[in-house]
């Protein structure tokens, strides 16, 4: 089993606070890796280190290495826009861009000038179908995306990311802002998508992690406490803090 992303000696400071202390993490290829832990333990920061989103945080300092297919994305001269094309992000709250539904999905293609000459319609349709939104929007593709419900917008964001054919999907509590039905919808999609993509999921719902994860990274106060195949970590945790978290006494 190959590791799609390898994190070595990662230290992240924001201002004077050390958010992540020396993390070594392997994200296996073609699986769902769930990053678990109580609020404020650095889950989201860890996720944002994988698409260089920490660049956007003022006063952040990153040390260590993050390898994507063996290439260190923090090496000098790496093009972040290309990294972010290869690593999609599904954010906690959906932000549809101020344009039509159609243009939202086409956005990434236009940005990267992919398939500019071709008719994009079949491509847009494909990704909307993949995200499970096509049937709901096929008659109103030119409506502004802001007219969609929040659950639909999250699927639109998924389609927008998928349209660039990323290798990895980072999902940052992608269902936490959604109603139960929409959440189920997104979860189902992630389930399907893991056939083709490596998925890294930050979640604070243990049950969601149990349903989706093949691999688990458990973090506590900026440190990686335990990581391994989901079954082993859930059924037979090695560390005291993992046990306590799984039993619900911390977090």
């Amino acid at each position: 089993m190959e590791n799609h992303i390898q994190i070595r000696n990662l230290k992240v400071r924001i201002g004077s606070t050390e958010i992540i202390k020396n993390a070594d993490i392997n994200i296996p290829d073609g699986q769902v890796t769930a990053i678990l832990g109580p609020s404020g333990c650095g889950k989201t920061t860890l996720l944002r280190s994988m698409n260089r989103f920490l660049d956007l945080t003022e006063n952040s300092r990153v040390e260590g290495e993050v390898f994507l297919d063996g290439q260190n994305i923090y090496a000098p001269g790496v093009d972040v826009t290309e990294i972010r094309r290869r690593i999609g992000l599904l954010a906690q709250r959906p932000y549809s861009l101020p344009m039509s539904i159609y243009e939202n999905v086409a956005y990434g293609l236009r940005i990267h000038r992919v398939n500019q000459s071709k008719n994009l319609k079949p491509i847009i349709r494909h990704y909307l179908e993949l995200a499970g939104l096509w049937d709901e929007v096929k008659s109103r593709l030119s409506d502004p995306a802001s007219a969609l419900s929040i659950g639909q917008q999250q699927r639109l964001c998924l389609a927008r990311g998928l349209a660039l054919e990323p290798e990895v999907i980072l999902a940052d509590e992608p269902t936490s802002a959604l109603d139960p039905i929409s959440a189920q919808h997104i979860e189902g999609k992630l389930q399907e998508l893991k056939e083709k993509y490596t998925i890294v999921l930050v979640t604070h719902t243990l049950r969601q992690a149990r349903r989706l994860a093949d691999h688990v990274v458990f973090m506590y106060l900026g440190e990686v406490v335990e990581q391994g195949p989901a079954r082993e970590v859930f059924d037979n945790p090695q560390m005291e803090r993992t046990k306590a978290y799984l039993q619900g006494s911390i977090g």
Binding site: A91, Y95, I111
Partner: protein, 327 residues
């Protein structure tokens, strides 16, 4: 003697009732006072408008409105009061100033809100804000000492030489006291104002939109162009319109450098005579001339209505922009 628990509770409740009544009285009084204080400025505006209207009334009765607005001869001693040269002067100076100021301000606001590092921002933003605090007479002096000679000696001859066929750049006025000088000084004065508004408008766009765009690998410029810009366009227009209204109403700095000659200009090197300068230069003098006082107040009324129009327009643009932001 120790009070019984019931007695303690009774006393306590009675006390609370008294306090409640006095709290409600204070609340009613405060509410009345604040309402009165807030109504005052609004009432003041109406009073100024009425005063101007009353004082301008004599000339509005004797001359036709069209004749006043479109008349191009200003000879008060002969009873000729054409406002057109002044309206044209104000428009020329203001429009030219905005052509200089608007693009610079918006690009600067984009840089500050989207590109600048925190340290750069912390350095540049206060400096720009200070520009807005410089008294306008100082800008006027700077215009007289620097801009007017520069226009006279360098810009004027150069543009005249390069574009001899363009009437816009040709003039018989060799002094440098011109529309161009006025517009340059005005532009520098309104730039910090427009930057401040545009910057605040751009900062209202939630980070999530930037991130949604950056997450698919967009560059910062693409993000600004396709995601931020459509959301803030209305606010930016409002900023520019408010800047225009400010430039239109500015008096001191402009009248010091613009030449003050009541003719209809045809070139940016011609002298002009904006409405504001007309009032500031002449009110209080030669008041024995019939209708002169009334004519000046009519021009003040006109100035006020134009600026009011700009502000209403800006408010509408801003409201539309924020309404969409909340949708």
């Amino acid at each position: 003697m120790v009070k019984s628990p019931e007695k303690v509770e009774d006393d306590h409740a009675r006390e609370a009732g008294k306090v409640l009544a006095s709290r409600q009285r204070a609340e009613r009084r405060a509410s009345f006072e604040f309402r009165a204080l807030s109504t005052l400025p609004a009432a003041l505006f109406v009073v100024i408008l009425i005063v101007l209207l009353v004082r301008a009334w004599p000339i509005l009765q004797q001359k036709s409105l069209v004749g006043l607005l479109l008349g191009d001869v200003w000879r008060p001693s002969e009873g000729q009061f054409g406002f057109l040269p002044f309206i044209a002067g104000s428009l020329w100076v203001t429009v030219l100033a905005m052509i200089f100021a608007a693009p610079v301000s918006i690009l600067c606001a984009i840089f500050l809100s989207e590109y600048a590092r925190p340290t750069t921002k912390a350095l540049i933003k206060p400096l720009i804000d200070i520009l807005a605090a410089i008294p306008s007479v100082v800008y006027g002096l700077w215009g007289v000492l620097v801009i007017v000679p520069w226009v006279q000696q360098s810009v004027g001859p150069a543009l005249g030489r390069w574009f001899p066929f363009l009437p816009l750049f040709n003039s018989s006025n060799p002094t440098g006291y011109s529309i161009l000088s006025g517009a340059l000084v005005l532009a520098v004065m309104v730039v910090p104002f427009i930057i401040a508004i545009s910057y605040e408008v751009m900062r209202t766009v939630p980070r999530g939109y930037h991130e949604a765009s950056l997450a698919v690998g967009a560059t910062r410029w693409q993000t600004v162009r396709y995601v931020v810009f459509p959301r803030v366009a209305g606010g930016l227009i409002a900023g520019v319109v408010l800047g225009t209204s400010r430039a239109f109403g500015e008096t001191m700095a402009v009248l010091m450098v613009v030449g003050n000659n009541p003719i209809i200009p045809h070139s940016i090197f011609d002298a002009a005579y904006p409405l504001t300068a007309l009032i500031a230069n002449n009110y209080g003098e030669m008041m024995s001339i019939p209708l002169y006082d009334s004519a000046l107040l009519a021009s003040a009324l006109l100035l006020m209505l134009i600026v009011l129009l700009f502000n209403v327009f800006a408010a509408l643009a801003l409201r539309r922009a924020t309404a969409r932001e909340q949708a």
